[in-house]
């Protein structure tokens, strides 16, 4: 842009802004109304179910089993929380530890391995790449095969080990992450690569120095979604990580559920407790998604 053009544009903008100023108040009012409605809708559709979970967690056993949305006659949230922690010899504490280790490790591996892989899948064009992409996509459509996977883990001496379950959780989440990363890498202009190549970057440096940081918003998204999935999974740890000391958080829910007699108050108190860590993680990383804009991801 030449100097003149820039000036003209600025003038144009200023006059527009003057015009806009008159309408601004009216617009603001509309915005406030829309926002109020949105808040109301979200309260009705989203908060009411939480309200039910929370009050059930505060009740006594028999009252909770009646499943009403009335306020508890006797609030015993704290006692319920203590009971939940103490159940089955502090199983919940072990479970928090195990689930946290499994989740953080898997997510770290996923963020690096899948963004790297997706970068190649998106940028390269060949028959082989087409096939590989289909293979990864297929993973979204097929459930895992439990027993054969155990056989593989046994071959490597990884069955019943923390690294084993971590690698399984990674393997199962790879298709999802590859799809998301591929989509987002497509929005990064190829010119950026070309400039870097001219500067003499090889593939690894191009990826780690330039591409990886550009993916910040999607990294946060992946971290949020896959951590929640892995943290909340109970079927796979149950099969691939069996043993008395190997509980994971979702499994603790079964302390309070059975065919004939369930402690619904404790179950819901447990649900509340195990929802807190992923919620904190969400609060932190969802800020980072939004922060990606001010950092000017693609602009840079």
């Amino acid at each position: 842009m030449s100097q003149q053009q820039v000036e003209m544009k600025q003038q144009h903008v200023e006059s527009k802004q003057l015009e806009a100023g008159k309408q601004k108040r009216k617009k603001n009012l509309v915005l406030i109304i829309v926002e109020t409605i949105a808040v109301l809708i979200s309260i009705v559709t989203f908060i009411i179910p939480f309200y039910f979970i929370i009050i059930t967690a505060m009740k006594t056993g028999p009252e909770a089993a009646r499943f009403t949305i009335t306020w508890p006659t006797e609030i015993r949230l704290w006692q319920n929380i203590i009971d939940v922690f103490q159940a089955r010899d502090y199983m919940l504490v072990t479970a928090f530890f195990n689930s946290t280790v499994i989740t953080t490790s898997s997510v770290l591996i996923l963020a690096v391995a899948c963004s790297m892989g997706a970068f190649v899948l998106q940028r390269r064009q060949s028959k082989l790449i087409g096939w590989l992409t289909s293979l990864f996509l297929a993973g979204l459509m097929i459930p895992s095969a439990v027993v054969p996977t155990i056989w593989v883990l046994e071959q490597f001496g990884l069955f019943k080990t923390m690294p084993g379950i971590i690698l399984v959780m990674v393997a199962l989440s790879i298709p999802f992450c590859i799809v998301l990363y591929t989509g987002f890498i497509a929005t990064i202009p190829k010119e950026i690569d070309e400039a870097a190549i001219i500067d003499g970057c090889d593939g690894f440096r191009l990826y780690f120095r330039i591409i990886f940081p550009l993916l910040k918003p999607i990294h946060s998204t992946i971290i949020i979604i896959t951590s929640v999935n892995i943290f909340n999974d109970f079927v796979h740890p149950l099969y691939f990580f069996p043993g008395a000391d190997n509980a994971t958080v979702q499994l603790t829910l079964y302390n309070f559920m059975s065919l004939y007699n369930s402690d619904w108050n404790l179950l819901f108190a447990n649900v509340l407790l195990i929802t807190i860590p992923p919620f904190v993680l969400f609060l932190v990383f969802s800020e980072k998604i939004v922060a990606g804009m001010t950092a000017g991801s693609v602009k840079g």
Binding site: K16, L121, T221, F282
Partner: protein, 286 residues
């Protein structure tokens, strides 16, 4: 030549290695067992018998119909509602942090708890939903107890639970649109609404495509919420193909359920592949 050297296969290797060893290979092995009667320890080759038996499953047609309804309904609603919420949350509003958290929270809550909660809220006479409807003079239906309605009710809850994921992906997509575009648009005198149509939508197409794909495949395959809320019932009226397979697995019919998985995989591929081709074709146009 040179370019391909830059995009080295070495970068792809770690992901592929883990995936091939712990997913592709075991899956291929399990497909073999779909032709056998399998007790997890012993197997006996029985050819296509499992596939024939799967197609003879009496509730298969219900499951087939329900699966398509469920997938299209949940994927469609998640995409549309997710886009609307995401667009709203990336605009200049004060309560976005609150609404964002509130919308995402259901994703975090375990399916079991969601199932119980909505069973209570959807109870025909004592549930809050029908109580609220009665205030405005509507006699609410039996959301989960009516065979013709159950699958739709579960689908709505699935949207409620899953729309947060779509929203977050959309927000990420919208956040990576360079601000310059909007500035330029504003300079040219465009309205906010126009900006959404002409900038936000086309430029977040990769995110939209990803969500359509993930939600559609997810919708064709999931059954955990159906399982938690209706168990496929009343009777078999809200069965999905995936829940039929799961029931067979639970009954210890391992070969049969593997055959079911192969069939479901083919079905999903048949639905998703054309959609995928269509979406990526449009991507090239861009």
């Amino acid at each position: 030549m040179k370019v391909n050297k830059v995009y080295s296969y070495w970068l792809l290797l770690p992901a592929f290695l883990i995936y091939a060893l712990l997913f592709l290979y075991p899956t291929a092995v399990s497909f073999f067992f779909s032709f056998t009667r399998w007790t997890l320890v012993d197997w006996e080759w029985i050819g296509l018998e499992n596939f024939i038996m799967f197609f003879e499953e009496s509730s298969l047609m219900i499951g087939f119909k329900n699966t398509l309804i469920f997938a299209v309904l949940t994927a469609g609603l998640k995409v549309v509602l997710g886009l609307m919420i995401a667009a709203f949350l990336t605009s200049q509003i004060k309560t976005k942090k609150f609404i964002r958290s509130v919308v995402f929270f259901p994703v975090l809550v375990s399916t079991i708890a969601v199932g119980i909660t909505f069973k209570v809220l959807m109870h025909p006479s004592e549930g809050l939903i029908n109580t609220a409807l009665s205030w405005i003079g509507i006699d609410g239906p039996s959301w989960l107890g009516s065979p013709s309605l159950a699958i739709y009710s579960v689908a709505l809850v699935d949207v409620w639970k899953g729309v947060g994921i779509a929203t977050v992906i959309f927000i990420a997509g919208m956040m990576s649109i360079p601000k310059d575009y909007y500035e330029a648009h504003q300079i040219d005198g465009g309205t906010k609404f126009n900006a959404f149509w002409h900038i936000t939508l086309p430029l977040s197409r990769p995110a939209i495509n990803a969500v359509i794909l993930l939600a559609l495949i997810g919708g064709l395959r999931t059954f955990d919420l159906v399982w938690a809320m209706t168990g496929g019932g009343p009777g078999f009226s809200s069965d999905l193909i995936a829940s039929i397979i799961y029931k067979q697995y639970q009954a210890g019919f391992y070969g049969l359920s593997t055959a079911g998985n192969v069939i479901l995989f083919i079905l999903v591929a048949c639905v998703v592949y054309p959609v995928f081709k269509f979406l990526t074709r449009r991507e090239v146009d861009l």
